[in-house]
């Protein structure tokens, strides 16, 4: 068969053409929806060195699935074997074709159906290629086998749960799974007839026998082509669009693009980059503690993408960001959720006339201390901070001594964007007029807000950072004892702002810091996160208890935290005293 064409290649060819035309159309549309700032970033960074680190990350993530592997090695192997294996299969197939035709023209589909079209090829190089291709196919098949297993027993690959898929996704998954066994069988059939197989296909072909192979060869190749064509055709409309979109997303991110307050074209890219791997389900406290199984990012993203109703999923979330820190694609899930929370007509203007008469204070040479609303419920923290300022001889202005203007983050998290901006404007005015150079805050919620949402030209530090600096400078000296301390990482401080080490540095100067099962970026939310309004108290308490168990399992003398809200959540629920880092410092001053 010397011809370059057989009708069975049509499904594959049409599928490929459809895939790339749809992708180009979609991407074009989404890029058109980027806002002005995002477009500016792209224009500025498109042809700069950003491409090189982007390609490096594309290889690491798109092919090697490094982040998935770091999360779970078996899961990483499964994803890698299919992605990397398939990529290599295509690449080596391409090289094999070019090598065989030596520059003579050939049809583009030959590489995919090489064994069928190039049969009388008995050179040494052809034999080597055949072995490599078989090895790659075996590699992919091992991954597919794991995937099939995972769909039935998710625990075998180390996942507590796997994503519940809709019919469309399920059928597409079967078509993906069927591609590789079909390729194996069709190549084996051809190998039986033409003796051009590798160790795997040739042996399977020999088992088939020439007679049987002669009958099934063409139907098998046709089925293989149909499976490929179907998969490629539907890919852009399914979760498998992540294969291409993730690569685009990585490049956009390297160019500095991030989610904005309102959805943009970038959001479409993020939604389309979700592979529904289900890692976000694994550690969601609402799933593990409350058995709420329909609000996890994977389902929210699916419903936004398919334009299905998703009000409950949008609202019922602690915004603890545990999922975001685990997401192998790095999708800004909480930002997307917040965009969906947009309260639209409820988000009114000019609500806070009463804050206008609040006056600033000339604080040159002082630090501003902002306790935050929550610290007003835990006066121990603000008192301790005042004591610490006095001890190190730092003059301060407590901005919210009597009356607190909220930082605006609680409103922002609930989708009241205008109202939050109004509060930010007033606070910014007060801070700027004071002409202080440093803002110290005790509440991680305010801290995250001041750092990320305010764009203040002055230094913003959390009180644990401030204390750690004072310790380093020798201005604070502490009595170290043999106290056993367990530190709870608040969501907003740890995962939110990346402050993990400073509180630990301070606590290590006080006593023995215990190692916990879930800490740093894996810390468990105390359940009181202001990101959620929907949960009732008893539900919050269940989330809290799980978080508390993690702390008490280490049998500490004290539980330390750095957030007034977490302190409030844990208080009176265990025999161990709950103390803020600042309080522990003041109690152990030398």
């Amino acid at each position: 068969m010397s011809s370059n064409f057989h009708p069975f290649v049509l499904p594959f060819t049409i599928g490929t053409l459809a895939l790339f035309s749809v992708l180009i159309l979609k991407y074009n549309k989404w890029i058109g929806k980027f806002d002005r700032q995002q477009k500016k970033l792209i224009r500025r960074n498109l042809f700069t060195g950003k491409l090189i680190p982007a390609v490096w990350e594309m290889i690491n993530e798109g092919l090697f699935h490094k982040k998935v592997s770091r999360y779970n090695r078996r899961l990483g192997y499964m994803h890698r074997s299919i992605a990397l294996g398939w990529f290599l299969l295509i690449s080596v197939g391409f090289v094999e074709t070019v090598f065989h035709f030596q520059g003579r023209g050939h049809a583009p589909w030959i590489g995919v159906f090489f064994r069928f079209f190039v049969r009388d090829n008995q050179t040494l190089s052809a034999w080597i290629f055949a072995q490599i291709m078989d090895l790659l196919l075996l590699y992919i098949l091992s991954g597919v086998t794991m995937a099939v297993f995972k769909s039935i027993f998710s625990k075998t690959v180390g996942m507590r749960k796997t994503t519940r898929l809709k019919l469309f996704d399920t059928s597409l998954r079967y078509s993906l799974w069927s591609i590789f066994p079909l390729r194996l069988l069709s190549e084996s059939a051809t190998a039986a007839l033409a003796d051009n197989g590798g160790f795997l296909t040739q042996s399977l072909g020999n088992l088939m026998g020439e007679r049987f192979a002669g009958v099934v060869e063409l139907p098998l190749w046709t089925l293989y082509s149909i499976a490929l064509g179907l998969f490629l055709c539907l890919l852009p409309f399914s979760r498998f669009s992540h294969i291409f979109t993730e690569l685009m997303l990585i490049y956009f991110r390297k160019m500095g693009l991030r989610e904005r307050e309102k959805p943009t074209g970038f959001t479409r890219f993020e939604l389309s980059a979700c592979s529904r791997c289900g890692i976000c389900i694994d550690n969601c406290p609402l799933d593990s503690e409350l058995n709420i199984t329909d609000i996890q990012p994977v389902y929210l993203i699916r419903d936004i993408r398919n334009r299905m109703p998703h009000r409950t999923a949008t609202e019922n979330c602690l915004m603890c960001n545990r999922c975001e820190s685990d997401c192998p694609v790095g999708i800004q899930i909480s930002e997307i959720r917040r965009q969906e929370r947009d309260k639209k007509k409820l988000d009114t203007h000019d609500n806070y006339g009463y804050i206008e008469d609040v006056q600033s204070f000339n604080a040159i040479g002082r630090v501003i201390y902002f306790g935050g609303c929550m610290s007003h419920l835990t006066p121990g923290i603000t008192e301790s901070m005042k004591k610490i300022f006095d001890t190190v001889g730092q003059k301060y202005w407590m901005m919210d001594e009597e009356r607190t203007i909220c930082c605006g983050r609680p409103l922002l998290q609930q989708g009241f964007f205008n109202q939050a901006a109004e509060l930010r404007r007033k606070n910014t005015q007060l801070i700027m007029e004071s002409r202080s150079k440093t803002l110290v805050t005790s509440c991680p919620i305010c801290y995250q807000s001041f750092r990320k949402e305010y764009n203040l030209p002055i230094k913003v530090v959390h009180h644990t950072e401030y204390i750690a600096t004072m310790l380093r400078l020798g201005k604070l000296r502490l009595n170290r004892s043999e106290l056993r301390l367990a530190y709870h990482d608040p969501c907003e401080l740890g995962r939110g702002c990346g402050i993990y080490d400073e509180p630990r540095e301070v606590l290590s100067a006080l006593g023995q810091l215990l190692k916990l099962e879930q800490e740093y970026k894996n810390s468990l939310c105390c359940g009181y996160n202001l990101g959620n309004t929907v949960l009732e108290l008893d539900q919050q308490l269940k989330v809290r208890d799980a978080s508390l168990r993690n702390l008490t399992d280490a049998h500490p003398d004290f539980i330390a935290t750095a957030c007034p809200l977490c302190k409030k959540a844990f208080q009176h629920s265990t025999t161990q005293p709950i103390k803020d880092v600042a309080e522990l410092v003041v109690e152990n001053l030398r």
Partner: protein, 110 residues
């Protein structure tokens, strides 16, 4: 008149025959914990917005309970949603959610 910081309330009568109980029931269905409210006023005592002036969350949800909705929508917009009220509530009423649902209900049923 001298400002004493307080004043005598004008008499107010509520015609309970005219009351639409459905509104309260709809709210209670959304925020079941609201049924537990004993009107103690802890929410108002701690309120960040209340420190600045007349904003009084207890008054607002109490008036809504009696279907007295006039002016409530505008008044409720002053809430900063900081959540202190929810934390201090001795009855575990989910006030933050109550406020959002109230605002929605007030905006929808003009």
């Amino acid at each position: 008149m001298a400002d004493f910081g307080f004043s005598i309330s004008k008499p107010q009568s509520i015609d309970t025959n005219d009351m639409d109980v459905g509104r309260l029931q709809a709210l209670e269905a959304k925020v079941p914990s609201f049924k537990r409210c004993i009107n103690c006023g802890a929410c108002t005592a701690t309120c960040s917005a209340g420190q600045f002036g007349s904003f009084n969350i207890r008054r607002i949800h109490n008036l809504y309970r009696w279907d007295q909705r006039k002016g409530l929508e505008k008044e409720l917009q002053q809430c900063m949603l900081c959540g202190k009220c929810t934390l201090v509530c001795p009855r575990g009423v989910n006030l933050r959610y109550l406020i959002i649902r109230l605002r929605k209900a007030l905006a929808d049923n003009k």
